[in-house]
Amino acid sequence: MSTRTLAVVSAGLGNPSSTRLLADRLTTAAIEALGERGVSATVEVVELRQHARDLADNLTSGFANESLRGAVETVAGADGLIAVTPIFSASYSGLFKTFFDVLDKDALTGTPVLMGATAGTARHSLALEHALRPLFAYLRATAVPTAVFAAPEDWAGGDSSGPALTGRVRRAAGELADLVAGRPPAAPDDPFADPATSFEDLLRGPGA
């Protein structure tokens, strides 16, 4: 059985948090789906609430402090990402956006991403498509087709509403697992490896 790393970013602000609850469900389903494909998964969760001040500091100082650096490295080095945010004012939360703002712009290139969101009303559900999907498109990540939105009615009502959410979670997790299992494990990008381009080539200039 081969192994992959899943990073989970949850931007929920409360504790307990419905955003984290959705993230956990997506994670459990993804592990299961990967297992069905013969892949075991290591999961690392980044609770952005714990990094709220670190993120603000990063904005003014230009670098991630020691505590935030761990979170950034976790996400940048993962084979797959589950990213879940509450929807505020028709879009992802500022905390969520700030985290992706301070990531290196190439950190998620090609990384399969499962997007999730929670909100107080189902009318926010398309925020996944008009806000999160373009964000991950910009970062050149591979967002899976199914994004999972959970409104209050998805949590309420027990069995009558449960299957719908569970079904979406399973479908999205399966899509993520297909992509993650289909790629070799992420090789850490080392900018300090001996250069692929020799200095003589740099001197000759582009197109030479």
Partner: protein, 381 residues
């Protein structure tokens, strides 16, 4: 090991008085700081180059020439000279001229500059920063080492039969450091030529510095200039000192909290833990600075930033007194005792002339002017 100060030439409001110095005041202050640096026994003064407010230093060679005339031992350098937006021909001429005026007490540090709009103001594009640094520097070296240059490149007009004057003093051009915070290509460039590598080492965690220096050292050895631990490394640093540690913290805090670079963000305590910034007693600065060697190895030059964020001149001069009296003598002794014999000192004009086999006059005498065919001698005869 060389010790000195470097300034970014910012004009910043003093947050404790609400007063912002004028350009003239700040410029005078920097001249006073440079002279004081020599007076208290420091080795190096380095000055940045900027072409936008709130900085005043657009013309480092003019400033350094003034300082050269009023000092006798101080090594003069830049931090940095913009190799991307300056014409390499003008850099070759200006710094050779300065080298003559300063009796060889000149080296310079190449940098790309990090302010997007500055590039187009000088006809360039920040996206070509690395390419410009590579092409321009390659030309600069030829202009200093070859008397007559034919050259064609991508970023400036071609040269045919061009001689950059004055020729370098004693036939040996100024030593060059390459400054970069996180571009491996620039560390590679320094390594390729066997030049020095300077990491500004401020405002960022030490891990970045460490990785850049390690890479430079490895590539320096790869290109056959010597062993990795013989590569020429310079570091920045940022300090504020008072006899009592708490006095230093109390006095520096308003400057820190409002500094353009990091103000309104992390606390002074967090920032001091995360970066090499040291605010405290002279002894604390000594210990922290000696600790730099633990992660970059034996290095050749240590420059401190002591005059930014609106600190008044009087305070900066007091910092220089403390550096000269209490800090640098101890650091000099301790670093020297730790340094193995095979690790070289920072290159100076004297050591470079000796390495070149002695001084030679490099003057290029023209055979005759191309229009009249007459030489200067022929005219006076």
């Amino acid at each position: 090991m060389q010790f000195g100060v470097f300034t970014v030439s910012d004009i910043t409001q003093d947050p404790t008085t609400g007063r912002t110095p004028t350009e003239a005041e700040r410029l005078r202050a920097v001249l006073a700081i440079a002279q004081k640096a020599e007076e208290v026994g420091l080795d190096v003064f380095a000055l940045g180059e900027h072409h936008n407010p709130p900085f005043f230093s657009s013309s480092p060679t003019t400033t350094l020439a003034w300082i050269a005339a009023r000092t006798t031992t101080l090594q003069l350098s830049t931090a940095t000279t913009l190799i991307t937006t300056n014409d390499p021909v003008k850099i070759a001429e200006d710094y050779a001229m300065l080298q003559h005026l300063a009796g060889g007490r000149v080296d310079l540090m190449m940098g790309r500059g990090n302010t997007g709009p500055v590039y187009p103001w000088f006809g360039q594009d920040i996206r070509n920063g690395i390419e410009l640094a590579v092409e321009n520097y390659a030309l600069l070296r030829r202009l200093w080492t070859e008397d007559v240059v034919d050259w064609q490149g991508k970023y400036r007009t071609p040269l045919q039969g061009f001689t950059s004057t004055p020729r370098p003093l004693d036939g040996v051009p100024p030593f060059v450091w390459h400054g970069s915070i996180r571009s491996p290509q620039i560390a590679e460039q320094a390594a390729y030529y066997g030049d020095g590598f300077f990491h500004n080492h401020i405002f960022w965690p030490k891990e970045h510095t460490q990785r850049m220096v390690e890479f430079y050292r490895r590539r320096y050895a790869h290109y056959g200039h010597g062993a990795a631990d013989q590569a020429i490394v310079g570091l920045g640093g940022q300090v504020f000192m008072r006899r009592r540690s708490q006095d230093a913290v109390d006095e520096f805090r308003p400057y820190f909290d409002n500094a353009p670079v990091y103000g309104h963000g992390p606390s002074l305590e967090d920032f001091s833990r995360e970066t090499p910034l040291t605010v405290g007693s002279p002894q604390q600065v000594i210990e922290r600075t000696l600790g730099f060697r633990d992660y970059v190895g034996d290095y050749q030059r240590q420059l401190f930033l002591i005059d930014h964020a609106g600190l008044p001149l009087k305070t900066v001069l007091e910092q220089l007194d403390i550096l000269g009296e209490e800090v640098v003598p101890v650091l000099r002794r301790e670093f020297a005792a730790l340094k193995p014999a095979h690790v070289p000192d920072a290159p100076t004009h004297a050591s470079r002339v000796a390495a070149a086999g002695g001084a030679r006059d490099a003057t290029v005498h023209t055979g005759g002017d191309g229009v009249t065919g007459r030489t200067a001698e022929a005219v006076t005869r």
